[in-house]
Amino acid sequence: MNRFLEVVRRDLRLALRQGSDSVMVVTFFVLTVVLFPFGIGPEANVLERVSAGVLMVTALLASMLSLDRLFQADYEDGSLELLVLTPAPLGMVVAAKMLAHWLTTGLPLMVAAPVLAVLLHMHEDGFLTLLAAMALGTPVLSLVGGIGAALVLGARRGGVLLSLLILPLYVPVLIFGVGAIDAAVQGMSAKPHLLILSAMLAAALVLAPWASAAALRQALE
């Protein structure tokens, strides 16, 4: 457990000192969402109709922006070899890195989302559900994205390859995230959607660190 926290602390410190990643992700999120009213016109009812989808899709793209750095920097400077060789299960080290990634990208996205929801005239009944869907969905993005990041390690143009690999896997999160918000806005219960999102998170929590660890070992061979 100490080692887990040590890795989280180190990655947070690195992200904080380098600064650019978190800021870039949130800026991308805000700018892209702000583009939509320009693109589809300022009519409140149109914006309200698409708000849930726009927010979820954009958040998903934004969280992917920083994914290729998740292991790449450590891979390039040799830290990854040493992380693999620490006397702790590699899955635990990987989970710590994913948690740090979520704290520096998913969490800021979650904080920014309600503000942008106001901008898109989302019905206020959807706000809480939006937060809940983001809270359950963004960790899945970091976890599943981590598998992709580990798989494309060392590949040229890994960033593009990563998008091709990972975007299809994000579809369920998108469907149930948007479904939850739409249900809430229409006065129905969002609970089933949120429960399925929770199930995805639970599955990803168990499987993703293990799968990425296997991919990382492969990358270092």
């Binding site: 690195l14 000192r17 400077d77 040799g78 070899e81 992380l83 060789l85 006397p87």
Partner: protein, 234 residues
């Protein structure tokens, strides 16, 4: 050194390594006892780095067995990681963390006992002449200083087995002398060292392993070469 290490042996039997479809070496074996040292020699591409990666557990050998005290290493990779320090081509120094922070992270990861690790980090820094640089961020360091930071990792958390891939790269003469002293103390305390080098490094009583003797002629097909064991030669 920090503590005396108990009697152990680290041995390899009939190791073979295949990289990119080519047999790099085959039929390689050695045995290392407490306080022992092994110097890997051979031209570029003869498999020194590959062998060290195999010994560290980063690479799976295509054939053969690695054992610690008779127990196969592959059965418990975490225990092997706990007793091993691997030093590769890259220095693993984060540009935005200070020298002390870099070192402390690796020390804590290796030895979760925070206070003991903290003291060992300070000692390791001064040993390699880095005490003055402790608060300097990694990006300001020269190649030699980065290498020394990486070497200080060996002392910051104790481990009996050191696997060093050309540790003298970028080091000046004075630092090589320090490294030689550190290696001698490590061995005196019961540690083991396997290192590859092209430079002259003074290691009294170290065994030498010439990797070109274990290379396999190209015309051998792979299974035959692997089965051939130690008799395979050019």
């Amino acid at each position: 050194m920090v503590r005396a290490m108990s009697d152990s042996t680290f041995s390899a039997k009939n190791l073979a390594c295949v990289r990119g479809g080519r047999v790099v070496f085959a039929g390689l074996g050695f045995s290392l006892a407490t306080g022992g040292a092994l110097v890997l020699l051979g031209p570029n591409g003869s498999g020194k780095s590959s062998l060290l990666r195999v010994l560290a557990g980063l690479l799976k050998p295509a054939h053969g067995l690695l054992a610690w005290d008779g127990q196969p290493v592959a059965e418990d990779p975490e225990a092997h990681a706990a007793r091993t320090h691997y030093l590769g081509h890259h220095d693993a120094v984060k540009p935005v963390l200070s020298v002390a922070e870099n070192l402390r992270f690796w020390a804590h990861l290796h030895d979760p006992h925070a206070e003991r690790a903290g003291r060992a980090v300070d000692a390791a820094l001064s040993r390699f002449g880095l005490a003055r640089l402790a608060s300097i961020p990694g990006k300001m360091l020269s190649a030699g200083q980065k290498r020394r930071t990486n070497l200080a990792r060996l002392l910051a958390a104790p481990s009996p087995l050191w696997l060093l891939d050309e540790p003298t790269t970028a080091l000046d003469k004075a630092s090589i002398k320090v490294l030689e002293d550190v290696l001698a103390e490590h061995r005196a305390a019961g540690g083991m060292v396997v290192l590859s080098t092209h430079a002259d490094i003074h290691m009294p009583g170290a065994a030498e392993l010439h990797l070109d003797r274990f290379s396999v002629a190209e015309e051998f097909d792979e299974p035959a070469a692997l089965a051939g064991g130690s008799e395979v030669a050019r």
